[in-house]
Symmetry: C2
Subunit: 273 residues, 2 copies
């Protein structure tokens, strides 16, 4: 999916919501018997009209071994087959030496057919660039993450007083462009979005951390939204595990709808729709 298609979908659906498909078997209704795919299928059918993206996190599938990996594949295929206008992000946080990153890129883009993969930048250029150059595909580089540990290294200052995350963003941005690269910026980072936008005025940002992690959607929009929206805001637990009963899909739909409505208001106030 290219940038214009993504923006068109945001305008049409009046939403920039990404639903994180991170199913925790301990929080799933017992009647599903640990079947992640069936859980996802019901969540997807219930929330697809409110979301423009889904983001399965690989960890939640790999923990179940081969069976989990298979359910991850089925989930991606189910979305592609039934909701072709949905942007699929494999939240994998990969990154390795060049020839290995190339393997990962082929795995995610050619084997699985997702639209985007999250990548950790620590290993530098040859770990990131193999994800660039696939038509309509995106690399999403970790910039300033939503967790407590983001302060350990991402906010170290360099000799010029710049934070590491700023160095990462400006250097990584030079390896691609705003049509094939996005950055992760946590919703918990508040006004830091202003600094991010000085470095990346046009890039889309993938924003986790709204909901369970405490980030505010209004604050993210105030400091991070561009005139093309430029935001994909993710919520995982706050939607998919809002109920652990048989009504989990209905409750997920309600939560997703609530977020879509907040997003519609924000898109309107910015004149984007």
């Amino acid at each position: 999916m290219n940038k214009q298609q993504l923006i068109d979908n945001i305008r049409r659906k009046r939403s920039f919501l990404c639903v994180g498909l991170d199913p925790d078997t301990a929080k799933m209704p017992t009647c599903l018997d640990g079947n992640l795919f069936e859980f996802n299928r019901q969540i997807i059918d219930a929330t697809a009209e409110y979301a423009i993206a889904y983001k399965p996190n690989l960890a939640f599938y790999e923990v179940l071994g081969t069976r989990g990996y298979e359910m991850f594949e089925h989930t991606v295929k189910y979305i592609s087959d039934n909701y072709p206008d949905i942007f699929i992000i494999a939240d994998a946080k990969r990154g390795d030496i060049g020839n290995t990153s190339k393997m990962y890129a082929r795995s995610f883009f050619e084997q699985l057919g997702v639209d985007a993969v999250t990548v950790a930048p620590y290993m530098g250029e040859d770990s990131v660039t193999p994800f660039i150059g696939f038509d309509g595909k995106w690399v999403i580089v970790l910039g300033l993450t939503s967790n407590q540990g983001s302060h350990d290294f991402q906010m170290l200052r360099d000799a010029d007083g710049r934070y590491l995350f700023e160095d990462v963003m400006s250097k990584a941005a030079s390896w691609g462009n705003h049509g094939n690269m996005m950055f992760v910026v946590g919703a918990t980072q508040g006004r830091m979005f202003e600094d991010v936008r000085r470095i990346l005025p046009q890039h889309f940002l993938l924003v986790p951390g709204v909901g369970a992690q405490g980030g505010s959607l209004e604050e993210v929009a105030r400091y991070g939204m561009t005139d093309e929206c430029g935001l994909i805001v993710n919520s995982s637990r706050g939607i998919i595990h809002a109920s652990n009963g048989k009504d989990f899909a209905t409750v997920a739909a309600t939560k997703a709808h609530e977020m879509q409505q907040q997003m519609e208001t924000l898109l309107k106030s910015k004149g984007i729709i």
Copy 2:
């Protein structure tokens, strides 16, 4: 496997060789018909007497989807069942927010039963510490990697003139100890091992980059070896793809034996055996 057992194995086998199980189907003999597990099985049987560790890199399995993931699982099980004194490293370069890293840790240590997992440090403390606290298991943190891109961020200087990789090593080391944490330092980094040893005098280092990537074993030992050895040196392509004919396993054994003999000389010259 605890640290003393690892050191005992190094002394007994007169080797600190790790064989990287990164099978590239394009470089495998055609008679194996892309069967990574069968390729690995023959490589393992041929090289196990010269190696103290195996390091499968997940990317080379994931590229084949569920079937690849299954062959990764079979490979780990084959090593555990047949060579229980071998240290198994899942080269996965994972790392995510706390609850997700915990999923990965359970996946690798409990589901798969490997001894160690490589982890990228960019997301900080809560992305690394979930891998600590499993009895006899290790987290291996990326420190100074072997690739060209290692210069992009790892060698940025902070406000005190220290490299980022030095900040990463000293801070991460405080989250664990030299009985449950190792660091990746690329063989291509030469005299940088002296700086690393000032920060980490007792930690084991996992050293990729000898062979195809151009690192020198003698240089690594000169600047990086401790009186407990403290090194696990990896070779992948230089061993497993030394021949792409039917004799691949025999040639791999020859290459592994050559490295073991160089390592024996180095261990002797340091008085470790």
